[in-house]
């Protein structure tokens, strides 16, 4: 490698006094930067630090933006009401790039460098699965808002919790009766080819079978795919319902191409809102969805029977009646998932208060206090609805919404019951050592 320009020739550069001073000043600045401030642990006035593992970049960035806003709103509400155990709460944000390897690094960084009390806020299932071992090794409680079944499967470890959003297995089980009764009996599934999609692949067929319906084809699509028409010939002609759940930036293309392929002669569509989170339902090409049905965790559009708590939550987070950012109708929220951040932070508050949490030495107590929780009543802290919590599998169970696309809006047509989504636990985290 010829270094004609002397690019790497260090002999030419001389270290001037000014450069040296600049370097020292920068070093001093770094040491004083917020991340390096050390509070002594016992000091009761120091804030409780929550490490927020955020999908600020990467394929999860649209979700990340709203997870950020929702969590900031919840922390503000908690602090305005006096904080946790009389201490302020502070979010320390690190971007994980929606990448599992980076996710594990971020958890380590929270535990060893920022010395946060807990880690919180991860959505994408592959990042959760990649980061969970790091949380276990550091013995730092890890509260995810992921929706995947991986926490409840008890295949992760005792430090991982999902108390703010129902897992996919439960969602599917509670909605299968409605699908079989109202949409059709012959179902073709289209799902992303990674962990989150596999939850759907594995749990829909038995749930439908119990209702006398069948999954007749399963089409896995790589998560990085950007064009979908080539997969549609695999959909059997006798399909009555296409069950679609897609994630990532190409979801809109997916729905549009499905529309071009079928035109008006389409089977019934049942989709997970994941297919259209952060996407305006009135985008060009989506007329095709009119009359189709979606699962919604929490309704995007304000509903006539919204509770006072739901209204207050929407105002605090800053979304209008159409589920877009107040003042920017093009900035559409991820309403079906982000409520989980709000509710999870309130669960953390409750568990820390129950445990009399003072600092990182009380992390084990916090784990046990969280496991002891049984249910969360609907209200300002849990605006999506009531929930039960199973401490053995670290998973909460709530109601689900089925909404119909009608006149460019999503209207809730069915709400499931908590009991519809309960299943036999597959294991018991509380038997693991702390």
């Amino acid at each position: 490698m010829a270094d004609k320009n002397g690019f790497f020739d260090l002999s030419k550069t001389t270290l001037s006094r000014r450069t040296a001073l600049k370097g020292m000043a920068a070093g001093a600045g770094l040491a004083l930067a917020p991340g390096f401030v050390r509070y002594s642990q016992a000091q009761s006035s120091a804030p409780i630090k929550i490490g927020f593992q955020l999908h600020r970049t990467g394929i999860g960035a649209a979700y990340g933006r709203w997870y950020d806003r929702t969590s900031a709103a919840a922390v503000k509400a908690i602090n305005d009401a006096g904080g946790i155990n009389g201490r302020k709460v502070e979010l320390v944000i690190e971007d994980d790039g929606t990448d599992p390897a980076r996710g594990a690094e971020v958890v380590n960084k929270f535990a060893t460098q920022h010395k946060t009390d807990i880690v919180f806020g991860t959505l994408f299932s592959h990042v959760v699965i990649g980061s969970a071992p790091a949380a276990g090794e550091n013995k730092i409680p890890y509260f995810v808002v992921s929706e995947g079944h991986h926490v409840a499967s008890t295949k992760l470890n005792r430090y991982v919790f999902q108390p703010g959003i129902t897992d996919v297995k439960s969602q599917i089980q509670s909605m299968a009766p409605w699908i079989a009764a109202n949409a059709g009996k012959k179902v073709t599934q289209i799902f992303p080819d990674f962990a989150f999609g596999y939850d759907h692949r594995d749990y829909l067929p038995p749930a439908l079978k119990a209702q006398g319906a069948d999954v007749i084809a399963q089409i896995a699509i790589p998560p990085t795919e950007s064009s979908f028409t080539k997969y549609f010939p695999q959909i059997p002609a006798e399909t009555e319902v296409i069950y679609h759940v897609m994630v990532g930036p190409a979801v809109l293309t997916f729905v549009k191409e499905l529309g071009e392929f079928y035109g008006s002669q389409r089977p019934q569509l049942f989709g997970f809102m994941d297919s259209l989170e952060a996407v305006d339902i009135n985008s060009p090409g989506l007329e095709f969805l009119d009359g189709s049905h979606f699962w919604e965790g929490s309704p995007r559009y304000a509903q006539p029977d919204d509770s006072a708590a739901q209204k207050a939550y929407r105002a605090a987070v800053g979304i209008d009646d159409n589920g877009a950012a107040a003042g920017d109708p093009k900035d559409v929220s991820t309403a079906s998932h982000m409520f989980g951040c709000w509710e999870t932070l309130y669960v953390v508050k409750k568990a820390m208060e129950d445990a009399g949490y003072k600092g990182s030495e009380d992390r084990a107590k916090l784990v046990e206090a969280t496991e002891a929780l049984k249910e969360f009543a609907e209200g300002p802290e849990h605006p999506q609805g009531p929930k039960t919590f199973n401490g053995k599998i670290h998973q909460c169970f709530g109601i689900q919404n089925i909404s119909k696309v009608e006149g460019g809006k999503l209207k809730v047509v069915h709400k499931t019951k908590i009991e519809d989504g309960l299943y036999e636990p597959e294991g018991d985290y509380t038997k693991q050592a702390l």
Binding site: N5, G58, A217, Q218, A237, G263
Partner: protein, 309 residues
């Protein structure tokens, strides 16, 4: 754990669509991929051919084209075709300007040193990507197609716009070819490509040629992006795939060879479409990569490239 329904996808597929229509769909999809790929790869090939620079930021110029197309088309109200045509003109020009500035501010200062420019264009890649994330945001945003005509075939429907992309791309490729072979600008570019020192001795302002070529290369990518954006929304990470595929195409076709680039783009696009319809998209990528390896072993200059002098 419940597994897949017995028989799997292959059993189901045979009941679904006959071989002929299925192949037609695969070929159509492949053609659209080829058309966009040919334009994008041509830009990369041109920059390498003339300037001997491996432009790692090429995919980001593609992304920038799509993002600007969104910005332009949303700023202009009225019939979607008006906004789209405006985007087709304005977005590539802005991208060309950005590339021109990048060339002047960065590549020229490095004397077009091959190693340094690779590192520099990697830096550009991240800068452009993060600027897009900051100012455009993380969402995938749609651009309305200029017209939405659905071609109804007996077996399936197909987007009329997609076919027009193939036609538009073919016209642009012919235009580029005409410019390169029939005009004085093309002659100067080819002369610079053939021998930089001799060209300079004959009074060709090599630096200006370089700046122009770098801008044109980026503009070709931007045009491809504007054409594709009504099909697959603008997103700040969308530059990665085109970059990878462009490199594959350029290596197979021969760096700096226009004809090779087009042939390789059609080859890769069609095989990608057909293999991923009948087998799996992963297999299509495996085969493309394998072809690259074979070409590098047995014909390092590419199918249509000339051996280095």
């Amino acid at each position: 754990m419940a597994g897949r329904p017995e028989g799997g996808a292959s059993r189901i597929r045979s009941r679904v669509m006959h071989f002929g229509p299925h192949l037609l769909l695969a070929a159509l999809e492949g053609l659209v991929t080829s058309a966009v790929l040919a334009l994008t790869a041509l830009g990369l090939s041109l920059v390498f051919g003339v300037m001997r620079i491996v432009n790692v930021a090429h995919g980001e110029f593609f992304m920038l084209g799509a993002v600007l197309a969104w910005a332009v088309s949303t700023a202009i109200s009225g019939h979607p075709a008006v906004g789209f045509v405006a985007a087709l003109v304005i977005a590539p020009l802005l991208v060309g300007l950005a590339a021109f500035l990048a060339e002047w501010l960065v590549l020229r200062r490095l004397n077009y040193n091959p190693e340094s420019t690779i590192v520099a264009t990697i830096g550009m890649l991240y800068i452009i990507q993060q600027l897009a994330l900051t100012f455009y945001g993380p969402e995938a945003r749609p651009v309305e197609p200029p017209f939405s005509y659905r071609i109804l075939l007996p077996w399936f429907g197909y987007s009329g716009y997609k076919l027009s992309v193939v036609a538009a791309s073919a016209i642009l490729l012919v235009l580029t070819w005409l410019v390169l072979t029939r005009t004085k600008v093309g002659l100067i570019m080819r002369a610079t490509q053939y021998d930089r020192e001799t060209a300079q001795a004959f009074g060709i302002p090599v630096e200006r040629v370089y700046a122009g070529v770098f801008a044109i290369g980026a503009m070709l990518a931007a045009i491809a992006a504007v054409l594709i954006v009504p099909i697959s929304q603008a997103h700040y990470l969308m530059g990665q795939d085109p970059l990878l595929l462009s490199f594959i195409v350029v290596i197979i076709g021969g760096l700096g060879s226009l004809r090779g680039t087009v042939v390789a783009a059609i080859l890769i696009g069609l095989s990608d479409g057909i293999i991923s319809v009948f087998f799996s998209p992963t297999l299509a990528k495996i085969i493309a990569t394998l072809v690259v390896a074979m070409v590098l072993v047995f014909r390092p200059q590419g199918l249509f490239g000339t051996a280095p002098r």
